[in-house]
Amino acid sequence: MSTTVGQKTGIARLLELAGEKKTLLILSSLLSTISVIALLGPYFSVYLVLLELLRNATGVAPLDGEAMIRWATAGLVSLLAGYAFMYAGGMCSHVAAFRILYGIRVRLADHIGRLPLGFFDKNSSGKIKKIAELDVEKIELFIAHQLPDLVNAAAMLLVMIAAMFLLDVWLTLAAIIPILIGFAAQYAMMVGKEAKKATVAYFDALEEIGSSSVQYVRGMPSVKVFGQTVFSFRRFHGDMLRYRDFCLRFTDNLQNGYVTFKVLLVSLASFILPVGLFLLSRNPENIAFAAVLMLFLVFAPGVSVPLIKLIMLAGHLTMITEGVKRIDAMLTQPPLRETENGKPPRGFDIRFDRVSFSYDAEGGGPEVLRDVSFTAGQNTITALVGPSGSGKTTIAQLLPRFWDIQSGAVSIGGADVRDIPTETLMNTVSFVFQDAFLFSDSIYNNILVGKPSATKEDVYAAAGAAQCREFIEGLPDGYDTLIGEGGVYLSGGEEQRVCVARAILKNAPVLVLDEATAYADPENEYLMQQALSILLKGKTVIIIAHRLSTIREADKIIVLQNGAIAETGDHARLLEAGGLYAKMWNAHQSASDWKIRKEAAQ
């Protein structure tokens, strides 16, 4: 994977991609060139037979039946050899192509794994998947088919045209002029600026359908409850119609050029014949010329096949290069910089030092954190509270470097997170997110993600501590039950407990709990808190909580408002201060006293 993503675009970029498997592709081009030449064998044998017939017809020589059968058989052998070579060449190019595709996909996966999370907010998952799947797949066409075709078609055309010119200039011109006209008609339609623009639009339209169909499927409960049909689900239906209209327009624009090209190319012999007839009529007894005419007529279809392949290439090429452009756009997204001389953290105190951050600094987006400084000490619990949108989750996400900040420093144990090697950093920090995410895999493996080297006993113990044991044992295959596609679906609370088990198993020195028990029912929450409290000992713990009662015992409570720290202190001190926290506490008290009753709202 030495190829870097440079500035090259179009064919140059495709060749660069293909260059990764140069030897295979050169071999493939060679084999396929031999193949196309061998495939002309049958035509040549027909020519020889026709020549023999001509000589006999004019009474120059008696018919040589044996020779004609020999030629016919030789033509068959040549045909078989041609296909054998075609297979060998095709295999070389396909193996090369699929390996290159594999490489690109792995590189894409690796690269998007290094991007800041913002990338995923700006690009829908449907779009990213489309690029990784379909756009990459299109490259196969170029590498496996078009590249060898390009080489063999060019080689064959050169040989044939040279041979034709040597045989007869006029007949050659009769064949070449329609070819040139056909290409001109086609080129204007397929390669011009308009075509490029249309291709971009085509891709955009396809991506739009991709992302709106994913939304339609994911939002299906809402679609149902609000009585949406696909026709009223404006975006989706609109995207489908736009795509159709676009394609129809594209088709209309293309038709004359394409049809002209096709008709001219498949009818090369029809242009050669009148010229030949004219030349022959001036000297009907010239048998040598009659033979040359036969040769031209027999070989004409042999010329048009590779030519048609060539023009198809041009049409597809715009599509392929547009896809590659989208792949490259993803690959050139600047990743989070990996440190060169890693600094391991000494100790696990967390420090935010005058941190300012915006999700969209270049676009002049608003600052989400402004000049935030605080320390969260080892063996203490630090709670982040504040109204939604105040920046609590952002702070948590800065610790594992999901984003890089614009100014200030975030450090763990005295080392700036940007200087800690990613692996060390991730082993240091453990997370339980608000939105539980499980892989489509067994429950066991989902917990094991926390620490791949763990023993069975460790996994069971972690599951037990996270209050998962009971529900897991109730599943059809216990710990081996598959979750998601083709398996069972867990409730929100169950999913979250599996995530907690994962974090317990990981047992990292820094633990961030972002609303870790939001979906848990109260009794499970209570038990989980009990279990975690043992785990929390000696760790640096950061808790984001909505229900203030759960963080009353925290050593330090940081109250955020609009991205800045409003107050800091413990529960008692903050209440006494009578500021934002005290206000929130009161709101919380009344909210948790909230009793839904229908009269209450009246």
């Binding site: 449907g126 359908i209 609000f226 026709f231 109204p387 979906y519 009793k595």
Partner: protein, 579 residues
Amino acid sequence: MTGKLYNISAGKPKSLIRPIVGALVADICNLFPGGFMALVISVLYGQYVSPGEAHDWKTLWILCGLMLLSLAALFVGERFAFRATHRRAYENSAVGRAALAEHLRKLPLGFLAGKDPGEIGNALMSDFTQLENAVSHVLGQLVSGVITPVLTFVCFLFIDWRMAVAMFVALPCSLLFLWLISSLERRMGKAYLKSRTDMTNRFGEYINGMEVIKSHHLQGANFGRLERAIHLYMKNSIKVEGAMGPFYLIAIAGVKSGLTWMTIAGVYLIVGGSLTVPVFALFLLVGTRVFDPVSAALMRWAEFKYIALSGERIMGIMDQPVMAGDGDAPEAHDIAFDKVSFGYGARPVLKDVSLSLRTGGLTAIVGPSGSGKSTVLRLIARFYDPQGGRVLFGGVDEREIDPEKLLKNISMVFQDVYLFQDTIGNNIRYGKQEATREEIEEAAKAACCHEFIAALPKGYDTMVGEGGSTLSGGEKQRVSIARAILKDAPVILLDEATASLDPENEADVQRAIGALIRGRTVVMVAHRLKTVVYADRIIVLDKGRIAEQGTHGELLAAGGLYARLWDLQQRAGGWTLGV
């Protein structure tokens, strides 16, 4: 073959008539230039055979002129075919996509829950792109692969049947050969497609789980699941290519060998004196080009079959039975469960549950997580049909009611809100399509979200990210409540609507819910028992069965599960470092 055509047309084989006719017309037009040319050569050879007479240039030139004229006909025919195939391809897929999306909506949600959204997304997107390609590019070539040899064969039978037979003798053998290997091919194709879907799903998982993946340092090469899926797909791609390639090439070589057999037959016949030179020349010339459409069609045949699998996948969804019922929803809004049993796949969730909910009442469903609380709501809204027993709405079995009409009576606020990538205003408008701007703002005000929306740079026209990603949990929740208020349905289902909110938001959302439930039949699922003490009735679920039911007071007095849960919740929980 008919099955494939059915699948390729996404269930509307009639839509293929036009493209097929188009291709036919073009193919017939295509026979003329070649035919005239062969005639010219044949006449020319004939004139060389009888050297005594002078050349009849007039006949030759007339034939030649006809040949050139037929090129114009060919242009017209090809243009007709191009339009018929390409336009129909895109028209079909737009109709097909819409039909599939409509169908999906009418299926029980269980169908979607059992599938990866990527798989469905693929069916809607790339599978239809494949069908487009089938109609626009492949179908025409298949038609000419059949038509050209058949017409040629029939014409040539009249000229010299022995030569015509020799020409096409190998063709049936090749077809038989392909037919014999088709089951192997199908098996490989399935494995290939499966690995492709698998790769897409793994990519989806990788993207959607990025936070978790990063925090466990699983990105890139460390996420072996994805790498393995990509690798397996590569292996299967090479395997299909490598294993199927030779079979097709052998079949094509077989077809093209017809030229050789015909030549050999011709030589024997001409030496034997029963074939004339001009006729032999005619056959030879036509023989150099008649096999090209056949071999092109054979090449395309593999592709066509592969595309037919895409069509099969689409039809697999289209053939899923939609939820039954076409009756109107009754006037009454009381809800009852009659011995309802239900499970997601192999996991039973509700067992023999019977209950009845009064119109206008507020019913709370509580119980440990996994006890089936949310499932009760989903059954009421008929996202699923129960496996045993009946769910009654206004006294009518819900299976007899048109699900759409039923849902007109129900509003639902979910625990995890999914907003669409659209403006906030339009997201609220989903509650009532024809709502005016005023009505939307009114609903937003009632749901306590007008203020934050108005503070956004573009107000109600602000775009929301996919799934609502640009709003906070509480904000999304309030937008979804505004939507429900606007819908103004008599029955409200609340699923843990305040579970994950911060206190400030929680109070707002609580106010919003207060506005929403006024004067309606409400069923709510709640974790925090405190919130439901005033419910008209509390149903306590445990492991899929009703453990007890009654008012808060009655249940406390009974001293059962509810009383125990209540006791547990009264103990203030909090995070502490263990000592």
